[in-house]
């Protein structure tokens, strides 16, 4: 790295500004994490280290509620993630490998619109749509809504990966007597795998963490983890929520890092031949 004067790191105040941003971003998370190990009923005074709130989530008063919520969250995230990934993969192949068609950029915009629209707008719109068609709110309505808003998150890494794969691999497969399907399963899919996996993980985590849309479209009685936590907090913040939040934070960090690593790994072992 040549040290030139336009390097942003040399601007005055850059360092302190960075520290301030990191501080604002991470202090709350760090405090929550630390206090989740607090051996006290108070959420502000430190009463020694313990795992009691972690025990409380699994065996305490709200354990049953959290358990169903967690099951709902994970099963919805899995199904929504998988479905969104399948749709996003087909969309990416159609958009990138297909012949140019009228409205291609419009389609691209439509696929990625949910990334741009404020989530509250999507939430209200989805709610109105479901009531308009008389769709019963509950598990299925959450799942459907999640599939839809997960698609762009799955699409982006998949499309990025596909764009880096030269067309000649599929042509070589077809040249060597593979059918279109075989060329896809034997050559294109394995090459796209890192992008597909990372798209799935991203969709999974986005679904797992979603609150606003879920809160709007869920029926009474059906909770996911974020809505269950919100419901709990409304009656006052108890330390067990911090423990639960810390666990979710861990899961998120794990999946996001996994997605990132897979992408990195794919780049290195990927298609780039000299």
């Amino acid at each position: 790295m040549a040290k030139n004067t336009t390097d942003v790191r040399r601007y005055p105040g850059f360092f302190s500004f960075t520290i301030l941003c990191l501080f604002l971003l991470y202090t709350p998370l760090i405090i929550v994490t630390i206090y989740s190990f607090n051996d006290s009923k108070s959420i502000t005074t430190w009463g020694g280290f313990s795992f009691r709130w972690y025990q409380d989530i699994f065996y305490g008063l709200e354990a049953a509620k959290f358990k169903t919520a967690a099951w709902n969250s994970i099963s919805i995230a899995l199904m929504a993630g998988i479905t969104a990934t399948v749709i996003a993969t087909s969309a990416a192949i159609g958009m990138i490998r297909g012949e140019p068609f009228k409205g291609k950029s419009l389609s691209f915009g439509l696929i990625n619109l949910p990334l741009m629209v404020p989530e509250i707008v999507s939430a209200v719109a989805t709610l109105i749509f479901f009531s308009a068609i008389g769709f019963t709110r509950g598990y299925m309505s959450i799942l459907l809504a999640h599939i839809v808003f997960c698609i762009p998150f799955a699409y982006l890494p998949i499309a990025a990966r596909l764009e880096g794969i030269e067309k000649s691999y599929e042509e070589a497969a077809i040249d060597l007597y593979a059918t279109r399907w075989k060329a896809f399963t034997k050559v294109l899919m394995p090459l796209m795998a890192p992008g597909i996996l990372s798209g799935f993980l991203l969709a999974f985590i986005i679904s797992l963490d979603d609150f606003i849309i879920t809160n709007f479209v869920k029926g009474a009685g059906v909770e996911t983890l974020p809505t269950a936590i919100f419901g709990s907090v409304k009656q006052g913040i108890k330390p067990n929520i911090m423990a639960l939040s810390t666990l979710m934070l861990l899961v998120s960090i794990f999946f996001v890092s996994l997605s990132y690593l897979i992408n990195k790994l794919g780049e290195r072992t990927g298609d780039k031949q000299s």
Binding site: S168, A172, I174, L176, A178, Q273
Partner: protein
Amino acid sequence: MTDSSPLALEVSHAVKIYGALPNAVKALNDVSIDVANNEFFTLLGPSGCGKTTLLRMIAGFETITEGSIRLFGENIENLPANKRPVNTVFQQYALFPHMTVLQNVAFGLTMLGKSDREANGIATRMLDMVQLGEFSNRKPTQLSGGQQQRVALARALAPSPKLLLLDEPLSALDLKLRHAMRVELKQIQEELGITFIFVTHDQEEALTMSDRIAVMSNGELQQIGTGREIYEEPKNKFVADFIGETNLLTTQVESIQGANAVCVVGNHTPLECASAGGISIGDTGIISIRPERITLTKPGSDATGSNLTGTVKRFIYLGTDTQCMVELDDGTEIHVRVQNAHDSATDFDVGERASIKIDQGAARLLVN
């Protein structure tokens, strides 16, 4: 294949237009080639002349706008790429990075429905043929460029195609390796008896390997012939200029003697030129003379009768030979090549007058 002498490939009046009308590109214009069985046939031309387009049409990756393509007498226009008994060696090799070298080579055989054992057996033999037997369990990215090139060749040859297409397969290799691969490719082709269609923009490569060469320019066929034919009897200015080095002099036909035309060059010196016929007195044209077929002598020292003279301008040392620039008396400049083996030929000083002798039959008149 009941035909006694089937042509491996017949492309007739092929036209290829990319895109729709407002910005359509005519990549091929009325191209016809016939390739005999077991021939090493080369498509040669500058960048953008349509070589890849023609190859991709034969492989089945591009549709043909007009005209027809026949493979051993059979019209293959409606045959999809994966049903044509034609394999391609891609320019960037396109080896499957997630498969081992052996799996790459066996891929085509597996897709043809061969059992894994049989496919691997043939693939192993192919890898031995290109001397890469010991690398079969490596991934393509763990091979050098030259080794990847051989794997690509083995992969394309493994299913025993009737026709092998090679799109500038040597262009990514360094000079030494490229020269070695030329010889090897030619040997493999002769050994297996498979018809090769080889694309290159390197005329030397084309001359060293090919049985016949098709010279293309701007989507049009310029000339088809053996290396010797296109080098020694170029049909037009483009071919003469593109293949090897040449001197091009504009001229006018003075008189006609049989198949030869007498033209004037330099300071009204008559020069007998071979021509393809179809010329008449007064026509303007271009004379092509290869620089190695011109010799310089001291003025008045020989009696061969040429009175074309000029002034030596510059010498450029090129290793095996020396290039000499001579200005004719009318101001046109010509190049002369002299082998460095006998140094007497470069025994001139810059600025010295020289008498210029052109070999019998070395001058060719090109009308277009």
